[in-house]
Symmetry: C2
Subunit: 718 residues, 2 copies
């Protein structure tokens, strides 16, 4: 039995992984085709993208006869490019709006909450899955400054949910379903980046609130199967999982740590800046753009295309631009003269513009009503910035090759590799926006294979994390959770100094342990939507006896008429009689604990139980009563209750004062308290005018820059 | 204040990391010198090892004039080699026995328990640290089939403990200390393998029972600082962290999955076999060899040296042998004709012998009374086995190059790379013995940089894990914990179907809330060693009021005489008076929760509190009384209580029946119950004779092989 169960959970995780891999391969193929369509077409067949059109032809950059740009004139090409961008974004936004609203956005925040125990009906349904998979290629191809990683996680979780629903063990158990969702989120990152271990770490560091070795193992299986399937389908025909393989021949030097620190600071500031102003934009969007999601997306795509065309790093695909920026200059790594000393200042300008422009575009685009992630845009921004710094350091070295700073450089070898700075910049920006560390190291490392750069990556992320902590930034996913008001307990522990009795709901509906009839229970169910009822003794003292879930009540009321004679007057019993004592309860409200004879009851078993207990004409609910709900005393500090929720994962905690039920608390109650009592209401938009925002952008940037300059001065003086 | 605290924890983790890095560099240098001393000496200076002796001389394998083997005759060299091995092992075992007994063994099991909350006085002290660091190079150089990774983790934790003890915030808080120990264990693995991220994952997957992002981050900082320090000290003078860098130019083919499955099965069987019989040896050792630890170690080293000399893969250092086995044949990867087709069957024999011999040596050596790890020996065994399989597959390919199985191979390129199988075999064996998965992938990958082999590694580990689960193997660290009877709750959840009342201690010592005098408390402290006292109301009803730690009682009794007049007759109070109501309690027994005004109280603050509350002549203990200890009802299922211990981490849970204290339960009580009630006593040695063991080895091997053959047949037939 145990082996079979374990086998089933492996099988489900593996099957979900395979489906995720297949879906990811399809998305990749369509995305590549649509992206190239903006630039030109293939005369051998309209369904071929540029790569396949020019297959087996050497020097595929320009010298392929079958591939035709739309026009020889750049202005016409520019217009066609913009038109395609608008059409793609219109189609995507329209599909999302009219069929599956949940397909919009990244989805990571919502899935975090779902894994934490929140339910959002339909968020992981087939409609969402289908529309998000369909529109994701359109959005990426439209050139909007958004990525495919967040949506890829969401799509993966939809697949995980749909696959697991086919198995009764999962469809009936929320806890098991959450485990599969965690595993699917790992697979989602794994296929988006071709980084299976990065995916597993992502699921640990970002998604799951309760860590367990079992869940980690399931994530491993799911990510492995997804990556293996993707690799077997080989959508890029390169046979590589690694998106932008780079091999840095040279080692890093200790003097470069100064540059690593600069990159780290950039990452931290970038994260703080984007999180802050993206929230402003989100508030603006909610207030003024709520009814124009399609126009907004089209407008954004058009602006991005019109403006982006003129910058060589924004015009091309973000992943392509990253792979160019990461490369070493030796061995064909040049693109558009990026390696030429004569062009260096033009390049610095161009990279600087790309960085600033892309930051602006990300701030306004992330969160618009199409599938949109923020991983890749952040990395692209970091890469342009890093490469810019790299070119500047290289210029410095060329100008003063004999300076003591460069003493370790040997004259005959290249000392500075700007590509590595681009790589580190990408890591810093990704870490800055998501507040992830270990995951980012592993992802960067699986993306590129740049093994010798593990230590520099870690140093950069150390600085990024320090800057982020100093500025008090949260990850964008957490900020979005807060912005949207989802019930999710954050991880950082604050001290509130209040007893749980101040937070609990006092006015609760209970059921007496005996004396109710079927009619009364139906009435109570009809009169309220709450998810469960504490059961108290019928003698009026209010002694707590147990707790029953609404779903179980409903289930028994629906099933019982098939096995016994039930009339609205049939009495109900929530406590076992003397003769029933040896029956254990089926219900314990803590994920991961099996208690009683038949937990994970599927329909057949529960029918059987109903039959055995359906003796004379009393409807017995007691096997479904959780007779040991988690109870605490009213004076227990709120912090302990929060930890109980986070670490034990119950849906409800009852408050018992001298054996008498005095209240009940759920995660929502705790959150309501922490939001209303502790922090003043946050409303980022707040009726401010546009100039106000511009001024704030300036003040923020200036203020942070100033603080850092003073800090550095302080260090120098000491 | 918050920023300063965060800063301090970064600083402590970083400082510990630096010390760990320095220590690791010293250990590496001494180990290399001692290892070479067995083979010969340097005429330029006795303190030079072979590498430095032959520095700047090309072709360092044989053509270095300053390096002299001990004698031209192989027999003399053999004897000198053996003598050195015995002397090294004698010195190490003697030092361990006479100065620091805790320095023996691996230490991972014990540290796991310490991080889980168990206290072992002196296990992380300076003596242990010093002797373990001193003897580790001797043991490795003696050629015993043991590794340095387990001891390296232990040494790192000693350093973490010593460094953190300098800061009062850590020395007074067990919870904080455990966090630093977790971080140090990450650094220990990081420096042993040069794998910082592997270290962080090790600390998550193996060491910590409660995962938190904060602890993970501290591990990251500590591992980074340790690795960076090691890299700056550059003990190998190679400038590389990567121990055996390999670059596999060629990609893997799907038909190789068959071989990956074989390697995975080997890993699983190897783990099960070694765990089982190493426990037998441990039982034998405890029973018969308890008083001869030094002779045992010397005997083992002598046997290893005498026998190992004749096998080319056992004679040399394990890490060296692995780096030879991992290499591709092209580009100078040949060693002792390992790549020659003519020698292939000799090599297979030699590798097979090395595998079998090393398995035997590991089984008898791991656990002997010197510092000894099992990571590297396992990897070495996996590598010899994998290379053997690789040579066989290559021979198969050479014999039938046109078989359909090899259809994807191109004729002009090498199709089979035996080195990759060695690499995968090493991963499988490591995962089989430790039951780690994600950690092993990352470590292997950081060790070698073989990025294209992530998917194959994951496939191999999937099979290894499946075989291990099928055979019901536990990791060797967990088995050792069970064997030694340490209090540690394992992670797998079993169902016991008993209420906590069957497990609790009923006969407990309590303190009445009032009416006691200082003399009474001194008496009670003297009469018992228990760690804390529940406090019950003084009116005889036994109502639970709170809980106080022994350490806090002691602390107040010691400090109070300095600030107020205390006589043995001074009355004591454990409950606040009316006027004190606004004072919160200082104590909550859950790690990671700050409650009340001054948790993490250091001496100064608590003196201050004593002063403020030392009004008229009553000694007030109440600020130290935890007035909200975790309490549960007697009928709560044992599983829930186990989860409370595991996830919330309290030291004690009180059982309250209708407000009256009825018992108390600790982790030890739970373990005592699970051991005595559930599983029959396990005593692996059991008076059996030697032939019995040999027979059992045979039966086990045959039985497992048979089961697998049937399983495979079943698959083929279907």
């Amino acid at each position: 039995m145990r082996v079979a169960e374990a086998g089933q959970s492996w099988f489900v995780a593996g099957l979900a992984g395979m489906c995720i891999g297949i879906n990811a391969a399809l998305i990749s193929i369509i995305t590549a085709w649509l992206s190239d369509l903006k630039m030109g077409y293939c005369s051998d067949g309209w369904w071929l993208n540029r790569q396949f059109c020019c297959w087996e032809i050497e020097g595929d950059s320009d010298g392929c006869d079958s591939w035709h740009p739309w026009s020889p004139a750049w202005a016409v090409r520019w217009i066609v490019y913009t038109i395609f961008a608008s059409v793609f974004s219109f189609t995507a936004a329209h599909l999302v709006r009219s069929i599956a609203k949940y397909a919009a956005g990244s989805g990571i925040s919502e899935i975090k909450c779902i894994i934490g125990g929140f339910t959002m009906k339909g968020y992981l349904g087939f409609g969402t899955f289908f529309i998000k998979s369909m529109t994701l290629p359109l959005v990426i191809a439209s050139g909007l400054s958004v990525g495919k990683e967040g949506p890829s996680v969401h799509v993966a979780c939809c697949i995980g949910n749909l696959v697991a629903s086919l198995f009764s063990r999962y469809s009936r158990s929320q806890g098991k379903m959450r485990e599969i969702l965690t595993a699917s989120s790992a697979a989602g990152v794994a296929v988006a980046f071709g980084s299976p271990i990065g995916g597993v770490l992502f699921s640990i560091e970002e998604m799951s609130s309760i860590f367990s070795i079992k869940t980690m193992w399931r994530s491993f299986v799911c990510a492995l199967m997804a990556t293996a399937t993707l690799s077997a389908m080989n959508p890029y025909r390169s046979g590589k999982l690694v998106l932008f393989q780079v091999t840095y021949d040279r080692d890093w030097h200790f003097f470069e740590i100064i540059v690593f620190v600069i990159l780290g600071i950039f990452g931290g500031l970038y994260g703080a800046f984007v999180v802050k102003f993206n929230l402003q934009v989100a508030a603006f969007r909610r207030k003024y753009l709520g009814s124009f999601p399609v126009s907004e997306a089209v407008l954004l795509a058009t602006i991005t295309a019109l403006v982006g065309w003129f910058n060589r790093f924004i015009r091309i695909d973000m992943t392509e631009s990253m792979s160019i920026l990461f490369r070493e200059c030796q061995g064909g790594g040049d693109y558009d003269n990026i390696c030429q000393t004569s062009e260096q200042w033009t390049m610095v300008n161009s990279l600087f513009l790309a960085t600033v422009l892309r930051i602006g575009l990300v701030i306004i685009s992330y969160g618009c009503k199409v599938p949109a992630g923020i991983f890749v845009p952040s990395m692209a921004i970091g890469a342009t910035f890093g490469r810019m710094i790299g070119i500047m350091v290289k210029a410095l070295y060329r100008a003063y090759p004999r300076s003591s700073m460069f003493a370790v450089c040997q004259m005959d070898v290249q000392c500075i590799t700007p590509g590595t700075y681009a790589f580190l910049g990408a890591a810093a920006a990704l870490s800055g926006i998501m507040r992830l560390t270990v995951t980012v190291v592993v992802i960067m490392f699986e993306l590129t294979g740049a093994l010798t750069y593990i230590l520099p990556t870690m140093i950069v992320l150390l600085v990024t994390k320090a800057v982020g902590d100093f500025l008090g930034t949260n990850g964008i996913a957490d900020e979005m959770i807060r912005f949207n008001g989802y019930p999710f307990l954050e991880r950082d522990d604050e001290s509130y100094n209040v007893p749980v009795s101040r937070v609990m709901k006092r006015d609760i509906r209970t059921l007496p342990a005996s004396g109710l009839r079927v009619r009364d229970i139906e009435d109570r169910l009809a009169s309220t939507q709450i998810k469960g009822f504490p059961i108290v003794s019928a003698d009026g003292t209010g002694l707590l006896v147990g707790y029953i879930e609404r779903a179980d009540l409903r289930h028994i009321l629906d099933k019982a008429p098939h096995v016994q004679d039930i009339s609205p007057d049939t009495p109900c019993s929530f406590l076992p009689d003397e003769g029933d004592q040896n029956h254990a309860s089926l219900r314990v409200d803590i994920p991961g604990i099996a208690a009683g004879p038949a937990v994970g009851v599927d329909d057949d078993i529960s029918m059987e139980i109903i039959e055995t207990i359906a003796i004379p004409n009393v409807l017995k609910f007691w096997p479904w009563v959780n007779r040991t709900p988690l109870t605490v005393a009213p004076q227990l500090p709120l912090e302990v209750v929060m930890q109980l929720f986070k670490r034990m994962g119950p849906r409800v905690i009852l408050i018992e004062d001298h054996e008498v039920l005095s209240g009940l608390v759920t995660v929502k109650d705790v959150l309501r308290f922490t939001v209303t009592e502790q922090s003043p209401a946050r409303s980022p938009w707040d009726e401010r005018e546009f100039e106000g925002i511009i001024e704030e952008v300036w003040t923020w940037t200036y203020g942070r820059a100033h603080a850092f300059v003073s800090l550095c001065r302080g260090f120098v003086r000491r």
